[in-house]
Homo-oligomer: 366 residues x 2
């Protein structure tokens, strides 16, 4: 197949891990007879310097042409003054393309089980997929679309107060819950919906929508769970979860907590899906869960696995290339089983190698 | 000293664990020559049946006379219809007495280190104190005191939407942050303030207040941390934290996550402090972190340690009896070191005994 992939490497370790992921995509194209056109542009700190914004309008226009975006990381060691912030690139991409479903699979690799803070017997069988709502909630309280319900700091008498607004429409809940139930159908057919319905009105509406969508999927078992309970059970019994769906801010907290199950955050991929259809699936943005880690940038020390597995998700969700995606995941697994590791996971035994060598070993396995 | 203690045992396992805690208080009174007057009343399901409300106005009036409240747990197996809910007792107590600072210490007992899902080397040195803001934020979006900023589900066009409001005043932030810095002064002198300042206006105001209060406490080191980062670091490196202060809902999630470090939630005490001064400290409500666990109620199976350690916090924070509080904590530690355990922690080795026997062994150690 032909596909256009927009690559935004960004700051810190973003470029070096993205390089490895792009080379993996090129190897896949060669081996399976696809034609991937790669277009690259600046994002984050370099974009602020070159274009005066964390992402330029022209770059967004190019993204709109593409089937998918492969994203590295944004953010630097220091924030200079009050100017544009590198994270704004992510927010602009999320809003511009209505990326509403953030997918984060967490499956500790057998070879790395010792790298986790959890005891191996607690991790056994863990294979979960978070679906975090990414387009609404407290993150967007400042938007003008909610007149009179702002996010702001303001004077009250002779002191200050601050307000944020958590708003969800039925449609915003429905599309992400539907995505979760559909994905569960391709997995172990179980959904845990996480909320705080004993406190929040938005959670009460969330529950109603979940119950309606669940009726359309009788083959999927499901339950409601309170967010505080979920924060405990993710550690106490992670293997009980298959697909976990939740609103934006709960998802931010719980996915980062769950990332610790995998030993190193450097291992974890993510996908942020929109609703525009592509020939093979839906448009999406793919990025490793780890940040830009400027302290180890350009030293061949970063773990490229999060980026490479993000490329595998791109193959699966935006291009519909399921066997190719599975082949990349199997190649990563094989390299780890052979004992090769970047330094962040090297304490789990094995041979420490650099970013580039790990990437080329994955390509060899392909 | 003379003190009046209001005891509200509540539902499920609440009464049996509270009994043990009350007997510990009585033993302390005898040994150290104090006079504790104990007054008991209904709360939760029994109160709904007897008085038609989860807590009666008369009970609240009695609480107002007391130096402290010892609380068990509320909540049943089933919620009958749309009537009053047992949790409302907690909310009424929190609002009536402006209990703004919820303290939850987490310190895994050496004898129980094997009961935690975390590897012992990750737990080593863990001794942290959460200070959760308990009187504001998303929990109170429905209150009329914020006109036009409600919590509700409402129609929008032909679909529904739901809104919740996160509001903090400078005063609400300041009093809880000040409590955290003062408590840090009695411990390892470090504060981690947790927020989401890259997204929320309320967190930006929170940071400003923290920076101001921190200047009044030059002997205390401190840092800001994002809530998603904190959710990771609590597992990756719990020993780095001394006092952690955060807003209401973040605190709800993070304290439950952190409770897993201690092996069993049955071990953990909590205090909810108000600002009314008592002869020995401040008025507060003390309760174990675990819920009512109706499935094991009245079978002598519940762990009374959370309740007993809550009584120790009562001695310390509301009555100012520091040596007595430390003696109770040491007695619990000694019983565990001798190998006695209730069933929830019995898999960490040792001899399984019932609720009442564990309580009487703690009293013997005193
Ligand atoms: C950078 C930050 C605003 C962002 C978020 O909270 O969404 C990040 O934590 C993430 O999870 O992608
Ligand atoms: C019962 C519930 C509303 C409550 C809360 O969220 O505050 C509980 O989880 C707690 O932490 O005390």
């Amino acid at each position: 197949m032909n596909a256009l992939i927009m690559v935004l490497p960004g700051d810190g370790t973003g470029p070096e891990v993205t390089d490895q992921a792009v080379e993996v995509l090129e190897t896949v194209a060669e081996l399976y007879g696809h034609r991937f056109t790669i277009r690259t542009d600046l994002v984050g700190m370099d974009a602020i310097e070159a274009y005066g914004a964390a992402i330029a309008d022209d770059t967004l226009a190019d993204c709109a042409q593409a089937d998918a975006i492969l994203f590295g990381a944004v953010g630097g060691l220091t924030q200079v003054g009050d100017g544009p912030r590198p994270e704004q690139a992510l927010f602009r991409l999320r809003t511009e393309f209505e990326l509403f479903a953030n997918l984060r699979p967490v499956r500790p690799f057998g070879a790395l089980i010792d790298a986790s803070p959890l005891k191996p017997e607690y991790l056994k069988g863990t294979d979960l997929l978070f679906v975090r709502e990414l387009s609404a909630g407290l993150y967007y309280g400042h938007l003008e679309t909610v007149p009179g319900k702002p996010s702001e700091i303001r004077r009250r008498g002779n002191r200050m107060e601050a307000i944020d607004t958590l708003l969800y429409t039925e449609d915003q809940i429905e599309r992400v819950v539907r995505t979760a139930f559909e994905l569960a159908g391709t997995r172990r057919r179980n959904v845990t919906s996480v909320d705080k319905a004993n406190v929040l009105s938005s959670s009460v509406l969330w529950r109603r929508v979940v119950e309606r969508v669940a009726r359309e999927h009788p083959e999927v078992t499901w339950e409601h769970m309170l967010v505080d309970t979920c924060a405990m059970r993710l550690i106490r019994n992670p293997a009980e979860f298959d697909v976990v769906v939740t609103e934006n801010l709960f998802g931010d907290i719980l996915t980062d907590e769950a990332s610790m199950l995998a030993g190193s955050i450097g291992m974890l991929p993510s996908a942020s899906l929109g609703s525009r259809r592509t020939p093979g699936g839906v448009f999406g943005l793919y990025e490793p869960v780890h940040g830009s880690a400027p302290d180890i940038a350009r030293q061949d020390r970063a773990n490229p696995i999060g980026a490479i597995l993000s490329a595998a998700m791109l193959l699966r969700h935006s291009l519909g290339l399921h066997p190719e995606a599975a082949a990349v995941e199997a190649a990563v697994e094989a390299v780890l089983a052979d004992g090769f590791r970047t330094e962040d996971i090297a304490y789990a035994g094995g041979t420490a190698i650099g970013t580039a060598e790990l990437g080329s070993r994955v390509r060899e396995q392909l």
